[in-house]
């Protein structure tokens, strides 16, 4: 049941209706049933359900066990505070922490192990085969990759780590845990929620509120507009440009790069708008996943604004624990004493950062393209970090920060860099991607802009017109938000007739201009595959 299918729209309408009909104490159980039904529809053989249930059970049991170890440990320390010396107390706490860590390790081995086996086994086999003679090649395995497994596994892992750290209490009710892991609007592409943020709003009863419902509805429509009117339409033109590479190189790569940047933005933020909108209709608040990422002035800032819940997950659960681990601190001390304070300080940060970006690349997909993409991000961020003092000097000397247009240059530069490395998503392998990026600079053929070649990519003049109008609307909303710091929906809701008019226009746009019919393929959201 794709988010873009009629059956999904009917399903959500039925869930919303039932959500406000059933007694409020049954609202969250209803969401659990709906979530499991949604997941069952994705694989009617029930295999996906089996995977997600195993993850939920393991997460639930291990959470309770870790919580119990921690609570008993705290109670013991409290009861024997007077009898224990500071060192004894520390040693006991370390013992408790070790026990919890063992349970955490076991739980992560199972949950992340499932993700690793289902998603990466064939990738590993393919790479091993490249070293073997053809006759000795290992056969690829027929393994299913459950829908949204990267997202729900990370969500479960964040819960387990938080319980082990003692920052949240464990959830005793298995069904509530199952809902946290499987909550259907965010199951397939996030945002990756934390238990501490989501649990209360997910389980508490919600009264119908017209304002909240309206805000949710308009956000859903805005999401569908971006996905169906823009992303699915522009995809038609991108497809030939990234597959027929002997014909579409040079300037076409530049065009494909910009088109893909626009498609991915509309596709991913559109999907998240639908997710957050559905939740808002039920009074459930989810974390924002984007804050105008294409208005970022550098790559570091971009990653603070794009796919925020994934970025903070990697920062909180990999970057910080790695960087402040005793071994890393020891390495930091060693490097500072041997390499000098300035350079030595950076060694651990750069090492942790490398591992984080490697993991980010691997998380995105079982292919070298994603790994190289992750490492390209790493290189750019590190180079920018190193060049920061130079930039500061340069800006100071020429007073560039005060010059109008410089901020625009920085924004365009960031969009170009990010779009360029994102081409690794598009082409079928790493060497080809490098070749195509190279051709953008060496084989530019500017004639394609004017000789009608763009009309041979599967889009008509009417399609381009729709895309240009769509671009202006999306850009206009972004600029309004960035300049006024105001929420568009809040402003619209102050004028009810205007609010209703926008809703009607969005419905008509999606119904009339949505990319349906011959030649179009209302596809999955791009992030579903991750």
């Amino acid at each position: 049941m794709l988010f873009t299918s009629y059956s999904f729209v009917l399903f959500v309408a039925a869930v919303l209706l039932l959500y406000y009909i059933v007694p409020r104490k049954f609202q969250w159980p209803l969401l659990l049933v709906a979530s499991y039904y949604f997941y069952y529809c994705a694989d009617t053989k029930g295999r996906y359900l089996l995977f997600i249930t195993v993850t939920s059970v393991v997460t639930w049991i291990c959470g309770i066990v870790m919580d119990k170890i921690g609570t008993e440990g705290d109670a013991y320390v409290k009861a024997h505070k007077a009898d224990l010396s500071k060192e004894e107390r520390k040693a006991y706490k370390a013992q408790v922490k070790h026990k919890k860590n063992m349970v955490l390790l076991l739980s992560l081995l199972i949950t992340i192990g499932i993700l690793a086996v289902t998603k990466y086994t064939n990738f590993v086999i393919t790479n091993i085969n490249s070293f073997l003679k053809p006759g000795n090649a290992i056969r690829a395995m027929d393994i299913i990759v459950p829908l949204g497994i990267s997202f729900y596994t990370f969500q479960a892992a964040s819960y387990l780590i938080d319980v082990s750290r003692g920052t949240i209490k464990s959830e005793k009710n298995f069904f509530k845990m199952a809902l946290f892991v499987s909550y259907f609007p965010q199951l397939v592409q996030g945002p990756i929620s934390r238990f501490g943020d989501l649990s209360q709003t997910l389980y508490e009863p919600h009264k119908f509120e017209l304002n909240g419902f309206g805000r949710g509805l308009i956000r859903i429509l805005w999401g569908y507009f971006k996905k169906l009117v823009i992303a699915d339409r522009i995809m038609i033109a991108i497809k030939p440009m990234i597959t027929i590479t002997d014909k579409y190189f040079g300037t076409y790569v530049f065009i494909a790069m910009l088109f893909y940047a626009f498609e991915l933005y509309c596709d991913f933020t559109g999907g998240i708008d639908i997710t957050i909108g559905i939740s808002e209709c039920m009074g459930i608040k989810l974390k924002e996943n984007f804050i105008l990422p294409y208005f970022s002035k550098n790559v570091k800032e971009y990653w603070n604004r794009w796919h925020i819940t994934m970025g903070t997950w990697f920062t909180d659960y990999i970057f910080y624990p790695l960087s402040v681990s005793p071994r890393m601190l020891k390495l930091s001390k060693w490097s500072r004493s041997h390499l000098g304070d300035k350079l030595g300080k950076r060694v651990t940060v750069y090492l942790s950062c490398f591992l984080v970006w490697l993991a980010t690349g691997v998380w995105h997909g079982a292919a070298w393209n994603f790994i190289v993409w992750g490492l390209a991000n790493y290189v750019i961020i590190m180079v920018s970090q190193e060049l920061e003092p130079l930039y500061a000097k340069f800006h100071g000397k020429f007073h560039l920060k005060d010059k109008p247009g410089y901020a625009m240059f920085e924004i365009c530069r960031t969009i170009f860099i990010m779009s360029c490395i994102r081409l690794f998503d598009c082409y079928r392998n790493v060497p080809l991607t490098f070749k195509m990026i190279g051709s953008m600079f060496t084989k530019a053929n500017l004639k394609v802009y004017v000789d009608g070649s763009l009309m041979e990519l599967g889009l008509t003049a009417a399609d381009y017109t729709v895309l240009v109008i769509g671009f202006i609307i999306v850009l206009g909303v972004g600029v309004y938000k960035a300049q006024t710091k105001k929420d568009v929906r809040t402003e619209l809701s102050k004028n009810i007739p205007l609010f209703c008019l926008v809703c009607v226009l969005l419905v008509i746009s999606v119904a009339v201009l949505g990319a349906y019919g011959n030649g179009y393929d209302s596809t999955q959201f791009i992030y579903n595959q991750f």
Binding site: K90, R165, G166, T167, D316, F319, Y320, V324, L329, K333
Partner: protein, 75 residues
């Protein structure tokens, strides 16, 4: 506290650590700075700051960071 202020001033000398209470929220210090602070605190004050304590509330001001160090010392 003076030692901590010295660590912080080494990172960003232009920040008024006596009054600023939004070091993380306003992105005056980023994750790289935080790691440097943790390493320096470990080295110079002999206090280990675990990953779970790296939250904005603990790093938003010099005062909050000092309170964290004292708490970890007495823990």
């Amino acid at each position: 506290m003076e030692e901590l202020l010295e660590i912080l001033r080494d990172l960003h000398s232009d920040v008024d650590y006596d009054t600023c209470e939004t070091l993380v929220d306003d992105r005056i210090i980023d994750s790289f700075d935080i790691i440097s602070i943790v390493a320096e605190v470990d080295d110079r004050l002999d206090v280990s700051i675990p990953a779970e304590e790296i939250i904005p509330e603990n790093f938003n001001s010099a005062k909050a960071l000092w309170a964290l160090i004292e708490r970890l010392e007495n823990d």
